[in-house]
Amino acid sequence: MKHFRYIGLALAATFAVSQAGAQELTGTLKNIKDTGAITLGFRDSSIPFSYLDDNQKPVGFAMDICYKIVDAVKKELKLDKLEVKLNPVTSATRIPLMANGTIDLECGSTTNNAERQKQVSFTNTHFLTASRYVFKKSSGIKSIDDLKGKTVVSTAGTTNIKQLTEANVAKGLGANIIPAKDHAEAFLMVETDRAVAFVMDDILLASLVAGSKSPDDYAISKDAFSKPEPYGIMLRKDDAPFKKVVDAATAALYTSGEGEKIYAKWFTAKIPPKGLNLNTPISSELKNEFAKPTDSPNPDDYK
């Protein structure tokens, strides 16, 4: 690995990153205090959780929660000023970018499951959604079995594409699965008839349909690929002090009733950029969870 060191030296020369004195203290909190900055990962098109508004600025339900967490971190560290950096992520890049320290919090629509918990941590759940698919009414699709041999799209790096892949094997569908970079791109594949169906969390599908040119053309399946699964803000694994601050901040937000207010702002009122109203009142399961916040990855804990 000799020339590896050489690469390294060149990098060091280009970007003299000084991290002196970082030996004793570890963790995200320490890093935030040292740099005076926290980096939030955001999504392009996870409406209404994290997406770009008309000024290409990330907004959404999860972004609002993250800004509340940032306030709590700022208070915890007694900082006068805390710079918030924003870094775009996709479903495929979010976990490696979390692991390698590029982002500190991922504010989006990330499903919290046991498998991912081996790689990353999640704070208290902020939404529950099941994996379904959207299709054009004109395509005559009635059930998952009708996807047999068809082209089906899903977003790369999601639990949905994994569930689809597994169902494809288990049910012998022989569907041709195309991975898309992000939800908007995947939806366009259905809109332009490149794929017959797009498998994704139902809430994201509903908002994509609502925001499309002709919402009446589409239908979302009744049958699901999964039980309603929890969404969580993602943070780095094995960072107990940081997780404690984040958990406390989100728990305080959800139990105080403010969480429901923010929920209402994004799900039952007009949202940018097109003034759409998703008309999705809070479910009783999520209401219960907000009363007793949990970061459990198990769907059965939310009944």
Partner: protein, 243 residues
Amino acid sequence: MNYHWNWGIFFEPNPMGTGTYLDMLLSGLVLTIKTALLAWVIALIFGSIVGVMRTLPSRGAYWFGFCWVEFFRNMPLLVQLFLWFFVLPELLPKAAGLWLKQLPNAPFWTAAIGVGLFMSARVAVQLQAGISSLPRGQKMAATALGLTTVQGYRYVLLPMAFRIILPPLTSEFLNTIKNTAVAITIGLIELTGQARSMQEFSFQVFEAFTAATILYLLVNAVVVTAMRFLERYVAIPGYITGK
């Protein structure tokens, strides 16, 4: 480095039900090679035609060749693939566009044709340079022997030119293989795409990318070695490459 290494991951079953993760990468490699070969055939055919046109005395042929090369050279490959994949079907009549979009393996055909046309511009430039590098006397001698223009190219100029430009063509072929990776953006799951899927399913980023890197290096080594033999086999006596 607080990264959890697991090199055994390659022998664990993948979620596609197609065997292990290693099988998944190898199927990606096969697709990379298939796409690259088809693209290369397209590049050679169109590149040769256009390259020859650029050396013909006809002004029309020259300008056609010029425009072809400039068109395919001055746009990023990614943008060209987007044009073929997303834009072209929308500009066609509805039925034709729909047929194109619902073609099985649409990403494969789009990638092969897109990369092939992109590379054809480069092949054309190389061939033009090869033909121009031949002494003028060759063309004149061909004419003097009573050969038509087509015969002159077929029997005299092209056999020489192609052998001279074999080394640059080798590197253009290697570029073709590498360029197929751009097609992951239109949903072609070739080697880089499979490495990325493996990373998403198994979370073992660096193992997946290392394996893909090694496979690319191997393909490269095989092509370079094979081309070296070919170069020696077709070498022109008297030229530097012919020693």
